[in-house]
Amino acid sequence: MAKKPKNKRRDFLQLSTVTLGAVGTAAFIWPFLKSMSPAEDTLAAGSTEVDISTIEEGQSITIKWRGKPVFIKKRTKEEIDAAKMVQASDLRDPQDDADRVQKEEWLVLVGVCTHLGCVPLGQKVSDMKGEYDGWYCPCHGSHYDTSGRIRKGPAPKNLDVPPYTFLNDNTIKIG
């Protein structure tokens, strides 16, 4: 009987040593893993102000925001109507056009395909715009409509709308 309490003591020591060792190792690894996340200066990439007074109806410009392209498009009447006519429930990523714009004629999008991150075509007059007359991603064939919503192809989601505000009628602040 004298042996049993001794074994228990040893078990306790063994278990507590292993536990403490595991916690210590995890605490040691954490800073290394965390150092790979975006650094403070990367996070503080900030916002961009854009003058939109020179954009004609039907024209679209590309600006750089946090290293990504952002599309700013002044839509035509037909394009707005086409975007509004769609039933949100029929879409892969259901969203009404009204939820994607602040002012009907101005569409602001992050120009990064939600499939694998290419920049879709459709900014230039000569570009392919896809079957829904919005944007077309040449990498794997995703088609977006005049509201930047995914309509056909492998992309799972609509083109993102970045946070933006109208500072006045001629200036948008993105971010």
Binding site: L33, A39, T62, L116, P154, A155
Partner: protein, 430 residues
Amino acid sequence: MDKNRKVHQFKNPVLNWIEFRLPIISYFKKEYGDYPMPKNCNYFWSFGALATITLVTMIVSGIFLAMNYTPHTDMAFDSVERIMRDVNYGWLMRYIHSNGAAFFFIIVYIHIVRAMYFGSYKYPRELNWILGVFIFLLMMATSFLGYTLPWGQMSYWGATVITNLFSAIPFIGEGLKTWLLGDYNVGNATLNRFFALHYVLPFVIFGVVGLHVAAVHVHGSNNPDGIDIKTNNDSVNFFPYMLIKDTVAMCAFGVAISAVIFFGPNLMAEVDNYIPADPLVTPAHIVPNWYLAPFYAILRAVPDKLGGVLLMFGAIVILFVLPWLDRSKVRSCNYRPIYKWFMMGFFVNFFALGYVGMLPAEGLYLLIARVGLLYYFGFFFIITPFVGWIEKPSKLPLSISDVYSKNITPNIGGGEKGIPSPAMQKDTNL
């Protein structure tokens, strides 16, 4: 400490001095001198040695390139151009390294084809196969990381597309991608870490190759007839026979790679990668390196983001369990009349997948990719287990020597009047 250890005696006293303290000389003598190789091994068995030589070449040329390369988004492209134009023999280092990568994959693909056709993955070499698939995975990761470094258009967009694959994972995908990139898109943080990892992974590969070789030496090499060595008559010593044979293979390989390095160094390069990376413009046509194209074809053949990613990685992971999917005890496809043709079909199919992986995913190409995808997985999940079940293998020779001796009949070859038959000549040569 083993007091009874028998210390190997050599004539050279220096060797004896070392051997007594570290028995490395007898180790090399045993593993690379007297090591018995099946005497029927053909040139397919030289590709392991070729792969090792190529790995060393890649590491050496890479170290010298790193001495002149700058891993910063503003300077990376220019530093590579400087290597090409101003650094003494920099162009040679870079062409050796870029074409060496392609040849490394050619060699390893042939090495894998060899292992599959002659059943080298079967008992008792399963762990060896698993280590090999692991090396293949590490190679793909390393080549992808390295392709990013020149910071051309294809570097940038290839890195973007591949890292975006991780965003397909539900819930944690976006966060994982950001963590891997160190930014919200491929940027300077990404380039820096890719360079660090690209430098270190080859040494990891080197370590796993060591295990891979040690593992194959435990049970010995497989051979074209897939039967074990039974007597000394079945084998030849590695030194000098196989070393000489591997050297011949190496010379042929040297001629092939030199022809490309000196006469067509950009044959396998993408033109778009000579345009500096531009985050605002995607090239019209993003193509992976040709040696990753079969897997890229699988990715694009699936019209669903997560599904495509899962099948692409699944296509590699499935290789790990091949030894357990194959039910047949016969190793070599030379003795498997049905499976042999499915196996060859698999190779052709893989080649076809690679071909369409380099072309736009539309129309006929997309259809071929989808059929290829079905055959790829069908081969592993249905054909391999099922054929092993129903197939009646041909009669195996009793021993490796038997492969040669049974052919010696007066009716074969020029066997009359003391001229040995071709089969017999082969036997004496070995």
